[in-house]
């Protein structure tokens, strides 16, 4: 079995005594792309900088391809780690042309080979026409391409990308994401991509590591995390949810939308039910035994439509995400069916629950996206 491309063992870190990372254990397999995702300030960029050696490690150890690079009295400087790093602020050298920027890391290679490598890198990223341009004359997307080409040119086996697409507009971002992923996969390069955007993380990562407050709270494939979140935080971070608080009654939590099974939770225990809008299925015809609701409005968002509806007795409207052709008129009466595969229940310790059995909605938290 080959050693992981990058492995953190018990990594902890503090800035001036303030802990920012604790007990990080994480391994990236060769040629695997891992997305490190979490709200801003959770320590994900620090983890990336520690891996690159741009930051001295306080606790634990880091190995690259089975070799100890940080920890236990060892601190291999960044230039000896043979990895590629793409910075959030792009950080092209303004005094060098595109070609010179890309060739920066190829100093130790003979001139003819170097020229070939630079040309190939420029070719790959559609930059051949800008070889002699200076960075400030390029658009944001082109600059980001140069940064990618520069990091990839020395042919690293490990790439670290720090919010690489955050400065770009949506359409460009999508294109560059795909191109980057293709390049990484084609070269068999292992990569760790830091992002605060869950959609980007799921789109790019073979696996996702979700971070919160300096810890990795869950790690797995995008579908594992989306379908089986380990905590309310992960569920809420990876997508929109409606939140309801209640007590476990006969193995499930009763929400205004219907009962959600709460396997493994003790009877009477306080719990939080999270329901994704796509788990809330609206039906035009009234069906017996289903809650009734009135449509506030319905918007087409491309593939799906987002419907806001009003459920009797609730203070705020709820959301449903339906396939795009379902667009009821405002005011239309609908019935609500709950798809329990899109609902998750987590035990709740600290939130007081009123005595009555029916779960009450919880005001939505700040949007994690």
């Amino acid at each position: 079995m080959t050693a992981p491309a990058l492995e953190f063992k018990g990594v902890g870190h503090a800035y001036d005594g303030v802990p920012v990372l604790s007990e990080i254990d994480l391994a990236i397999a060769p040629a695997e792309v891992l997305s490190l995702v979490g709200p801003s300030g959770c320590g994900k960029s620090t983890l990336l900088r520690l891996a690159a050696g741009l930051e001295p490690l306080s606790n634990g150890s880091i190995q690259i391809a089975g070799q100890l690079v940080s920890g236990k009295g060892v601190q291999v400087p960044p230039e000896d780690r043979r990895l590629g790093f793409v910075f959030q602020d792009i950080a092209l050298f303004p005094h060098l042309t595109v070609t010179e920027n890309v060739a920066f890391g190829l100093r130790r290679i003979g001139v003819p080979v170097r020229r070939q490598r630079v040309l190939a890198a420029l070719e790959q990223l559609d930059l051949a026409g800008f070889a002699d341009a200076y960075p400030h004359t390029l658009s944001g997307g082109q600059q980001q391409r140069v940064a990618l080409a520069r990091a990839l040119a020395p042919d690293p086996k490990l790439m670290l990308l720090d919010e690489p697409f955050s400065g770009l507009d949506a359409r460009l971002r999508d294109r560059l994401r795909d191109e980057t992923l293709d390049l990484l996969k084609a070269g068999g390069v292992a990569a760790m991509i830091v992002t605060h955007d869950p959609e980007e993380a799921m789109r790019m990562g073979d696996r996702l590591a979700v971070m919160s407050e300096g810890r990795i709270v869950q790690c797995g494939t995008p579908s594992e995390l989306y379908r089986h979140p380990a905590s309310a935080f992960v569920a809420g971070f990876l997508g929109e949810v409606e939140r309801f608080v209640g007590r476990v009654d006969r193995g499930s939590i009763v929400t205004p939308l219907g009962a959600v099974p709460a396997p493994g939770l003790a009877e009477g225990c306080a719990a939080l039910a999270l329901i994704r809008p796509e788990g809330v299925v609206l039906e035009a015809a009234s069906a017996a035994g289903l809650p009734r609701a009135h449509v506030v409005d319905a918007r087409l968002l491309g593939r799906t439509s987002l419907i806001r509806f009003w459920l009797d007795g609730l203070p705020t409207p709820l959301h449903s995400r339906m396939p795009g052709d379902f667009l009821p008129e405002p005011g239309a009466a609908v019935s609500v069916r709950l798809d329990c595969r899109r609902a998750h229940v987590f035990p709740l310790e600290s939130v007081p629950v009123s005595a009555d059995a029916a779960a009450s909605p919880q005001p939505p938290g700040p949007d994690p996206g």
Binding site: R49, A52, V74, V76, E79, L160
Partner: protein
């Protein structure tokens, strides 16, 4: 933050466990260095201030009773006049050039800076020679109209109003420069918002553009006033008694160093007030940018009479502050070249150039060390040290010179005495008796130029660039060579050039500190003018002006580039 990969902190862990102590020592060196440097640089000013606590009794009372009031009143009147004058000339020209297109407006953009090359004393000598009784203007009036001395009256050049006029003509570019930079940095959106809210162009200028530029204008006027307080040559030639002439006379005429230093300390109160105003306005100027969106500023075309009027408004300061005096200087220099351009002239020029070059090199090196220390670890102490080291631009050259004499005079005598008693030979005065003291004084006075330039240069080198270079396999030394050096070279060179020219122009500190029989171009011009040989002062004066033109061109290009969005760098 990311200090670990900056050069100097390299390959920390290769040696293994001894790392923390090692790092702490390095950090201390980089904190201590700037503090020591700043301390040495502050020494002259501290020496002057320390004299406040020494008793002088008779001399000070005598000064206070006789001349002190005159110094204060003259300085205040001079300051008020120059302040109003530079504000009017500077803001008007900046406004015209920035918001209107008219005949020659592109040309005026940078020619308006040219008077900056003209030392105040040189322009003062020129106008004195031009307008006094024997000068060409009065001679022509007499010959053309057959007048005699009693038939006409012209305001005397050598007077307080004359000094105000001279200083205004050469100092307004400070206001022009900063007002223009403020206008250029304003967002079009703010101006357009005002227009859509129903204000006409004129009222928009008065209620939006001008107030937004006010901090910049105040900074410019403050700088002009600092230069006014620093001026020695003009007021001395015009016999307008101010602090600088008083300090010089008290030290060299009356032989009273303590009283001279106390005059200097009093002058520092005025300086401190200006410095406070300037600093606060600089802070305000930074917060006056409300949006980050910029587009090319709209300019209106002025044609016909309005265009000619605008062109004339720009020609007036450029013509009177540069073209006319340069023409006169050139004419005089040609007329007198057989007697003035001799071997000694080249020696003066050589002295000036060598002093200027060494001072530029020393100052830029100090600035690089300070800025590097600040970039590595911007602790409050280091930042304070760097700020302190850059304060000299506000302190008049005469005060710095007196401070250098006080601070190093004792040191020199001590070394000399010790060597004499130990080895039986004399070292002479190693600092104050050689050009070392002069170079030190120049570095103190002008250090702000390279410090701010190098800081601005470093702002372009982001921490990520260091990181990028390191992850691309470059060692710290290589990062310094391949990334930092090329990115800083431009600003360091520009700063060196500006400093070079300022040293060439400097008069009061040079006059006080120059070694015996060591004359520069500035000294030569001063001596000729003091001997009423104004035409013989033209050649050295003209050379100083001509050398000064190169950095002005650089400066004007830097301003044009400074507008965000206009041309990205």
């Amino acid at each position: 933050m990311a200090e670990s990969f900056l050069p100097g902190a390299d390959s920390v862990g290769k040696a293994g466990g001894a790392l923390p102590a090692h790092r702490r020592f390095r950090a201390d060196l980089w904190t201590l260095g700037p503090l020591v440097l700043a301390g040495i640089i502050a020494l002259p000013v501290l020496a002057v201030l320390a004299q406040l606590f020494l008793p002088t009794g008779e001399v000070w009372r005598h000064l206070a009773e006789t001349v002190l009031t005159r110094y204060i009143v003259n300085s205040l009147l001079l300051g008020a006049g120059v302040g109003v004058g530079t504000a009017i000339l500077g803001v008007t020209s900046a406004w015209l050039v920035t918001f209107y297109r008219f005949p020659g407006s592109r040309l005026w953009e940078w020619t308006l800076l040219l008077p900056l090359t003209m030392p105040a004393y040189v322009i003062a000598y020129t106008y004195t020679g031009l307008l006094d009784f024997a000068g060409p203007v009065q001679t022509w009036l007499r010959e053309a109209f057959g007048w005699t001395r009693e038939d006409y009256w012209l305001p005397p050049v050598r007077s307080l109003p004359g000094a105000i006029a001279m200083l205004t003509l050469v100092l307004y570019p400070y206001v022009y420069m900063l007002a223009r930079a403020s206008f250029l940095s304003q967002s079009v959106c703010v101006i357009e918002a005002s227009r859509t809210l129903g204000l006409g162009p004129w009222r928009t200028f008065l209620s939006v553009t001008l107030p937004l530029a006010r901090p910049g204008i105040i900074v410019g006027v403050s700088l002009a006033l600092m230069e006014t307080l620093n001026d020695f040559g003009t007021v001395s030639h015009f016999a307008v008694d101010t602090f600088t002439t008083g300090i010089y006379r008290t030290w060299f005429g009356m032989g009273e160093p303590v009283a001279a230093a106390q005059l200097g300390a009093t002058l520092l109160i005025f300086v401190a007030a200006l410095l406070l105003i300037e600093r606060r306005s600089r802070g305000a100027a930074r917060y006056h940018h409300t949006t980050g969106r910029y587009r090319t500023l709209p300019t209106r075309r002025l044609s016909g009479a309005a265009g000619l009027f605008a062109a004339a408004a720009c020609l007036l300061p450029v013509g009177l502050g540069f073209l006319l005096p340069v023409a006169v200087l050139g004419k005089w220099a040609i007329e007198t070249w057989t007697s003035t351009i001799d071997a000694r002239f080249f020696q003066f020029a050589g002295n000036s150039f060598i002093l200027a070059a060494i001072s530029a090199g020393v100052s830029v090196t100090i600035a690089l060390i300070l800025a590097y220390a600040q970039r590595r670890r911007p602790t409050p102490l280091v930042v304070l040290a760097v700020r302190l080291a850059g304060m000299g631009y506000a302190v008049p050259g005469a005060v710095i010179a007196v401070g250098v004499l006080l601070a190093f005079g004792a040191f020199d005598s001590f070394i000399d005495g010790w060597v004499r008693s130990t080895f039986g030979s004399s070292t002479g005065l190693i600092v104050t008796g050689s050009s070392a003291g002069l170079i030190f004084a120049y570095s103190v006075r002008f250090l702000a130029i390279p410090v701010s330039a190098v800081e601005a240069g470093f702002a372009r080198v982001t921490a990520s660039m260091d990181g990028a270079a390191r992850t691309l396999g470059e060692r710290p030394g290589g990062v310094l060579r391949r990334v930092h050096a090329p990115l800083l070279a431009g600003s360091a060179l520009t700063a060196g050039l500006l400093l070079f020219v300022d040293v060439m122009k400097e008069l009061p500190a040079t006059l006080i500190l120059r070694p015996f029989n060591f004359d520069t171009l500035a000294i030569r011009a001063y001596q000729m003018a003091s001997d009423e040989r104004l035409r013989d002062a033209a050649a050295p004066g003209l050379l100083i002006v001509l050398v000064g033109i190169a950095p002005v061109i650089l400066l004007s290009r830097a301003i044009a580039r400074s507008r965000p969005g206009q041309m990205r760098e």
